[in-house]
């Protein structure tokens, strides 16, 4: 086991050395990112904008801009984004390293993800919901002056209810009196039950029965549609067979047993299809990560033509001028 771990570590190190070597050789610039400076708040007094923001652009745009005017600064290399691409590549490899076995590099990446995602949700919840929908309702004047200059609202004291419930919810973090957190939890559970009781009966029970009431003998403009009829018959009886299998109040023997067995078969086909679709999904996720490594980081492929430039620019580039 130790030997194989060593072997795999060696493979990883060689691969990493190759990747880094491949990156450093050649025309350079691999993994580089470029930005365009965008003027913001443009008006008559400030034709260049009161201040400037940035936008990520393709490398080809930078090369084109440089070919046209080497002194230009509107499109430029971005150290922050370049470091970002390298960091993203390292994070991707760090997570993939888990395939060789649990290791400290993976654990560091995982720890960072846990911290970043929890904070990400908090920040989004704060700026997109709590500021406009809670604080902005309770004290619109303050919020307008501070963070939402466009806010136009009158104070609405009914929002003291979610504020109180929210404070009680956060009380769960306190060392004492955590039981008070049951009140807002009960509210959340009550709302879920209220929303779901009617909706599930409507959309997933009654509507499904209605969706299943279909002609078993299908006729179309050309007469009897054999295959459509077979499909409908199989759908309706397949569903009924599954329901018989789910019905445990009667013993699954005789005709009921056979019907339940047919139900199991339908369910197995359902699960087989679900498995196929799950595999499909997972592979697509892997593909996008590898595309990132090969395209954004290593520049081995260029499927979106982000580094395709005209002949003259390419010439300047190969001469090392760009």
């Amino acid at each position: 086991m130790q030997r194989s771990t060593m072997l795999w570590t060696l493979v990883m190190v060689v691969a990493a050395a190759f990747l880094i070597g491949r990156t450093l050789q050649g025309e350079g610039g691999r993994g580089s990112a470029y930005v365009r400076v965008v003027p913001r708040a443009v008006d008559e007094d400030h034709p260049e904008g009161r201040w400037q923001g940035v936008e990520r652009v393709d490398p080809a745009e930078y090369w084109r801009a440089q070919a046209a005017d080497p002194a230009q600064t509107a499109v430029r290399w971005s150290p922050a984004n370049t470091v970002g691409i390298w960091l993203a590549a390292l994070f991707t490899l760090a997570v993939l390293s888990f395939l060789a076995g649990d290791n400290p590099v993976y654990k560091v990446a995982e720890s960072i993800l846990v911290g970043v995602s929890a904070a990400y949700w908090m920040v989004v919840g704060f700026w997109e919901v709590l500021v406009p929908n809670l604080l902005g309702k309770l004290m619109p004047g303050v919020i307008q002056a501070w963070a939402l200059p466009g806010l136009e609202a009158e104070p609405d004291l009914s929002y003291l209810v979610p504020l109180t419930l929210g404070v009680l919810l956060l009380w769960r973090l306190a060392p004492r009196g955590a039981w008070i957190g049951r009140w807002p939890m009960a509210f959340i559970i009550g709302v879920f039950c209220g929303l779901r009781l009617v909706t599930y009966i409507h959309a997933d029970f009654l509507s499904q029965i209605r969706n299943s009431i279909v002609p078993l003998v299908v006729m179309n403009e050309r007469g009897f549609a054999f295959w459509d009829s077979v499909r409908n018959v199989l759908t309706v009886f397949g569903m009924l067979a599954c329901l018989v299998y789910f019905f445990f109040s009667i013993e699954h023997r005789g005709a009921v047993g056979k019907c339940a067995r047919a139900g199991i078969w339908v369910l197995m086909i359902t699960f087989g299809a679900a498995f196929g679709y799950t595999v499909m999904g997972r592979i697509a996720l892997l593909a996008i990560r590898l595309e990132f490594l090969f395209d954004d980081w290593l520049w081995l492929i260029d499927p979106n033509n982000r580094r395709v430039v005209d002949g003259a620019t390419a010439l300047l580039q190969s001469a090392g001028i760009l």
Binding site: W51, G84, L87, A88, F91, V95, L99, V108, E110, L113, V114, G115, V116, A118, Y120, M122, V123, V124, G125, F126, E128, L130, N133, L134, A147, L165, G166, L169, R172, L173, W179, M185, A186, F187, G190, V191, G194, L197, V198, D204, Q208, L234, T235, F237, M239, L243, G263, V266, L267, F271, G272, A273, F275, G276, Y277, T278, V279, R282, L285, L286
Partner: protein, 233 residues
């Protein structure tokens, strides 16, 4: 007190929403309850973050095994939170140029929060999910056995779907004559989804719907109070 009040809160909130579904003039009540719920959901994000911080800080202070990883989690959490809440790198809202940077977008390109999202959150979360592609392959080799009819059906369906949802299916059975069009793998995969998957999932859906409605009613009527936990804590 500790169990009755929460039950009443759950029951009233739930029944208001149910009544709002059927009685037009109660629609506004349902709306208010839903809005409070939506706001509370955002506060739950803070609770989640706070809980994470609390647990990891406890681990760090007690020097429990793996505390260094907890320290990294806390550092990543604190950095992201600060970058996002302080809107580091944000510029004022261009529509209100006289306002301060607090009016700017916290997640626009160029902010520190955007940078953390783009170069840490995206690669980490996407690659962790991509790992499953490897494990599903390994599991398929080790555990996916046609031991009996049921397993064979599951396996056969998976084959048809895997082939039929790529060009491989078209390639393998394109020689079939038009009279057997329905037996081409790509068409078989469509029919499996339309017929059997619809039937199976519809039965499951009906079962879940009945179960959800029953559990909801039990909670709202106070028959099931297990969500309140045990007595006196």
């Amino acid at each position: 007190m500790k169990r009755t009040i929460p039950f009443l809160i759950a029951s009233v909130a739930g029944f208001v929403l149910i009544i709002a579904y059927f009685v037009p003039f109660a629609e506004g009540w349902g709306e208010s309850v839903s809005i409070w719920f939506d706001v509370l959901a955002a506060i739950a994000f803070i609770l989640g973050g706070g809980n994470l911080l609390k647990n990891h800080l406890q681990k760090v202070s007690a020097r429990k095994p793996g505390w260094a990883y907890s320290a990294i989690t806390v550092a990543a959490f604190a950095l992201t939170l600060f970058a996002g809440l302080a809107k580091l790198g944000a510029t004022p809202n261009p529509q209100y140029p006289a306002s301060s940077a607090w009016s700017g977008a916290y997640r626009e390109t160029g902010t520190v929060f955007w940078w953390i999202y783009e170069y840490a959150f995206v690669p980490l979360t996407a690659t962790i999910f991509a790992l499953l592609a490897f494990y599903v392959a390994s599991a398929a080799f080790r555990a996916f056995r046609a031991r009996n009819t049921e397993a064979a059906l599951l396996l056969g369906t998976a084959f048809i779907i895997l082939l039929g949802r790529t060009f491989a299916g078209v390639y393998l059975t394109s020689w079939l004559p038009d009279s057997l069009y329905g037996l081409r793998i790509e068409n078989l995969s469509v029919d499996i989804m339309r017929v059997f998957v619809t039937a199976g999932n519809r039965a499951i859906m009906i079962g879940i719907a009945l179960g959800t409605a029953a559990v909801s009613l039990k909670i709202l009527l106070g028959v099931d109070r297990s969500y309140l936990g045990s007595g006196d804590e």
